[in-house]
């Protein structure tokens, strides 16, 4: 369980929040504090007040995969192959194993054909897929994804989503503006002006929001139509 207690940081004000393992979607209006929360969970910032604990450890003490909301700002190296291999090389894994794992992970993410490419020549979607593969190659316990799906077509996003759920990460914390994706998550955290507006299973969170555009379109249109 991830425990957040008395968090006060920039726009965020969160009293007590416990996030169980599984797939948690963070959603809400632009500027509502989603990225700030995700950065705290990834250990990239320390809260001004309050505490965050991953089971019995602090965020920085746990292996974490991270994808920034700006695709171009996820790139450390000039080559896709170097990008993908970096977490393994930083972990001092032998070269043969690095090469094997990079091949497997690239295949898994559908970016094998991009391995010899320069990172700045990739399209937005390709950059996102590369970042995601890099975030997952070290098999992290926590995966923090900041709106990576907004640069993907629905076919690719759905396929990648299934793979993410199958990645073995214990906690997947994903920010998205796709309500249908939120509807499929284990739980949804709806943030508004830095505060938790609702948190729980999608059915509970969206139950009072039928008139709001956040209500999943597949639920709205699917009911009674078989779509």
């Amino acid at each position: 369980m991830i425990h957040l207690h008395g968090i006060q940081h920039r726009i965020l004000e969160i009293g007590d929040l416990s996030i169980p393992p599984g797939h948690t979607v963070v959603t809400g209006w632009n500027g509502g504090g989603k990225t700030t929360l995700l950065r705290l969970l990834a250990g990239l910032e320390l809260p001004k007040a309050g505490s965050i604990m991953f089971e019995d450890r602090k965020p920085g003490d746990t292996e974490c995969g991270w994808v920034n909301e700006f695709p171009g700002r996820n790139m450390l190296f000039s080559l896709v192959r170097d990008e993908l291999s970096s977490p393994l090389r930083f972990a001092h894994i032998p070269c043969d194993e690095v090469a094997r794992k990079v091949g497997e992970c690239a295949e898994w993410a559908g970016v094998s054909h991009l391995l010899p490419r320069r990172t700045h020549t990739l399209s937005g979607g390709e950059q996102v897929l590369t970042s995601l593969a890099t975030a997952l190659i070290g098999r992290p316990q926590i995966l923090v994804l900041d709106e990576f799906d907004s640069y993907l077509d629905h076919g690719t996003a759905d396929a990648i989503d299934e793979k993410i759920l199958d990645s073995g990460a214990r906690y997947i914390i994903q920010c998205t503006q796709n309500p249908d994706l939120a509807a499929r998550a284990d739980r949804v955290l709806l943030l508004s002006h830095g505060r938790v507006h609702a948190f729980g299973p999608p059915r509970d969170v969206f139950s009072g929001l039928e008139r709001c555009c956040y209500y999943p379109p597949s639920w709205r249109l699917g009911r009674g139509t078989g779509l």
């Binding site: 500027g31 700006f70 640069y151 249908d180």
Partner: protein, 232 residues
């Protein structure tokens, strides 16, 4: 007024784009998978990239711009106020419109991507263009902002508007449909007739089309109205 792609070829590494077609006045939606060439097409249309062979002609177009998929790529000012001014607009008017009043001294790189996209689109929308190319305009926006953008596009009357997107739910009313398939541009025709040939159609729309129901257009309301026909 028209934007014409005449036997355009553009090679970028292993990828080759091929495009021929004429974009006349109206709203054109161009869809395609990741890496299919939508952004390359948009860059060629705006003239910020030159084709290897073929020509891109803008006939009767006196003002045009391209909204790049990454809003941060447009930044030339060090504050939000300077950034708005660089578009030749009044900072107060724009900030009022996007609900960011009093933030003209903020660093544009320090605000959230959604806010930056909203600000950038407001700057684009508050000027008049003969040709406007929007590359992934919906990415990073929340549903309320997506609906707002759809409303603005719905009111776009004069000129040529090209929208390159893979948005599935919040789509604006469009006149023409195009598709990029592995680097090749296909003209699907006028909406709604063109919908039947739309391979990249969003899932809900595709389900309707599979059941033989043709919505009037591709907006959320059109899809909902068509779905209700099933319900009876």
């Amino acid at each position: 007024m028209e934007l014409a792609f005449e036997a355009v070829h553009k090679r970028r590494g292993d990828f080759t784009l091929r495009a021929s077609g004429i974009f006349g006045p109206g709203v054109h939606l161009i869809s395609g998978k990741v890496g299919a060439g939508k952004s390359t097409l948009a860059a060629l249309a705006a003239g910020i990239m030159a084709p290897d062979t073929g020509t891109v002609k803008k006939n009767g177009v006196s003002s045009f711009t391209l909204s790049l998929q990454f809003p941060e790529w447009h930044i030339t000012g060090n504050t939000i106020g300077e950034e708005i001014l660089s578009w030749g607009l009044n900072a107060e008017d724009v900030l009022m419109r996007v609900g960011m009043k009093g933030r003209d001294h903020d660093d544009p790189l320090a605000i959230s991507r959604g806010e930056l996209k909203r600000l950038h689109l407001a700057c684009i929308c508050m000027r008049k263009w003969d040709l406007l190319i929007l590359d992934e305009p919906f990415s990073g926006l929340d549903c309320r902002q997506k609906q707002e953008l759809c409303r603005w596009i719905g009111e776009f009357r004069s000129g040529i508007l090209l929208i390159c997107t893979h948005e599935s739910h919040f789509l604006p009313p469009v006149d023409f449909l195009w598709e990029m398939r592995d680097g090749v541009l296909f003209a699907l025709g006028r909406v709604p007739e063109a919908l039947a040939a739309w391979k990249q159609a969003p899932p809900l729309l595709k389900s309707l089309l599979c059941q033989g129901i043709l919505p009037r257009n591709i907006t959320e309301d059109d899809v909902r109205e068509a779905a209700w026909k099933i319900r009876g």
